[in-house]
Amino acid sequence: MKIYIDVSMIMIGTKFTGIPRVTMELAKRFYERKFDLVLIEYDVKKDKYRIIDTEGFIEFCKDKKGSRNKLRTDRYISFDGFEKDAVFFDVDTVWKTRVRRSFLYPKLKEKEVKIIPFIHDIIGIDFPQFCQTDDVMNFVDYIGAALNFADRIAVNSNATADTIKDLAKRLGAKEPNIDVALLGGDFKKTCDKDSEENGNLSETVKKIVESGIYIYMVGTVEPRKNHKLLLDAYENILHEKINLVIVGFAGQGMEDLIGRIENNPKYQKGLWYLNGANDDELDYLYKHTFALTFPSYAEGYGLPLMEAMIRRVPIIASDTPINREVAKDRALYFEKDDWKEFSDIVLNLLNDEKAYKDLCGKTKDYVPPTWEDTASDVIKTFEAVYRGQ
């Protein structure tokens, strides 16, 4: 089976968490399972897709180091040159590329290529207020093309599947065939990691842990992640009781929120913000935290929840369908906009040893799906398309 994946954004990207991570993990596993994997990147000069050296790309996926320029071959595919009956697996942040899917998908359809988008979420449709306007418009083009032309859709959760089905219903569109492939977690790699011994911890990170107990939030700083709730809770009540640690790259337009953090009198004493951390630092902060907090308004999946559960870290999360699906009864939940309810949960856990112990115990038997499971589930989607389903 020939599988095309557009990796244009990974070829120029600087961040490999979230969706790029999913793309790379699946590409690795398709390669290992000996599929005929063709990785492509849009070349603006030729106005065609350039073929990327597959083996080199898979190597790059392992440590994300080395020149990606060397991976660019001198072979190209025109928009009309895709092979009949191949799979076009659109998994990366493809709405950000130059090639509109409203343009590409009809061409693929003409060639009888199987179009299978992996839709991580439809936050750009359901919560456009949390997204950059230009991204929203490009995302509309992509989702519209997916609804119009996809042979089957793969998603990362039942919650995402439900949002797409609801959307199709509202539009009066035919309900798409959707398959769920839960995202994997590096269970063994995480448990075996000794972040302290690896020597990659900054002095700041060590100081954070030495400064006292803290609640921990990790993820890109952007409006939908709801950092504002944590700051409201910390500034009003929690600053006297516990520290707050926020780790994540600042998205566009977040200067006011970052300013709010940096101007707090307890900044770098009880309130900490790190604009990025390496894997060992993230792991170290997870393992020493009082609890992970995840107050997002909307998520496609919620990898930090899984990362916390793998490490047996207690979780306090906003009450959303996706958080409930990923964490189930292993977390305590609060209403998204209620910083008082969130504060009450934290204070109760600080004051009630048994309640805290009970919460810690909820993650002890958690075993995440593996990336192998994810790849297997996606392959089942490919097979379903070939069976004409």
């Binding site: 070829m11 120029i12 990207g13 600087t14 849009y42 603006v44 000069k45 106005d47 990606r68 320029n69 130059r98 090639v99 509109r100 409203s102 343009f103 009809p106 359809k109 003409e110 009888e112 750009g124 449709i125 359901d126 919560f127 456009p128 207020q129 306007t133 230009d134 929203v136 418009m137 490009n138 509309v140 083009d141 989702i143 519209g144 609804l147 119009n148 959307l167 509202r170 539009l171 009066g172 569109a173 600042a250 200067e255």
Partner: protein, 156 residues
């Protein structure tokens, strides 16, 4: 054989656009009509047919052309700058933007003569290789937010 139903496809795109306009809390999309958005659907990455945009008027035309050429909307400053301009003037101005050449855009079926980048535009087009350099992108991301914004604007 793949049978298309263009009307149904456009209905889906328009319906999605209505959904986001309904939920968008900023004013960015309020003035953007479905007609302007649909004018950009199915456009190729580099070669834009003017015929798709010809029926748009006023702000619709500006919005449609911007999104067709640059995959973004004009900001407030740009809207003010182009206010009251006729279609030909808008096009001639836009093809001389650096990003037109950087993106290697072409406008086909154009009713106006010689709508092509001038010297400034062509010079900026030489910078197209810079925008795909991962080393330079990494460097740019380390800059303060204000400088990052200025760099982004250069390639918009």
């Amino acid at each position: 054989m793949f049978n298309r139903n263009i009307e149904e496809e456009n209905r889906i795109y328009a319906g999605l656009f209505d959904e986001v306009k309904m939920r968008q809390t900023s004013d960015d999309l309020k003035g953007v009509s479905n007609k302007a958005f649909l004018g950009t659907v199915e456009l190729a990455p580099r070669s834009i047919s003017f015929e798709r945009l010809a029926s748009l008027e006023g702000e619709d035309f500006l919005t449609g052309v911007f999104f067709a050429l640059f995959q973004r909307l004009p900001d407030q400053k740009e809207k003010e700058a182009f206010k009251g301009m006729d279609k030909e003037s808008i096009l001639r101005s836009l093809v001389n933007k650096g990003s037109f050449s950087i993106r290697k855009m072409e406008i086909k079926d154009c009713p106006y003569e010689n709508v092509k980048p001038g010297i400034k535009g062509k010079t900026m087009g030489l910078a197209s290789s810079v925008s795909s350099s991962t080393a330079l992108r990494k460097l740019a991301k380390k800059m303060p937010a204000g400088i990052q914004g200025k760099i982004r604007k250069l390639f918009r």
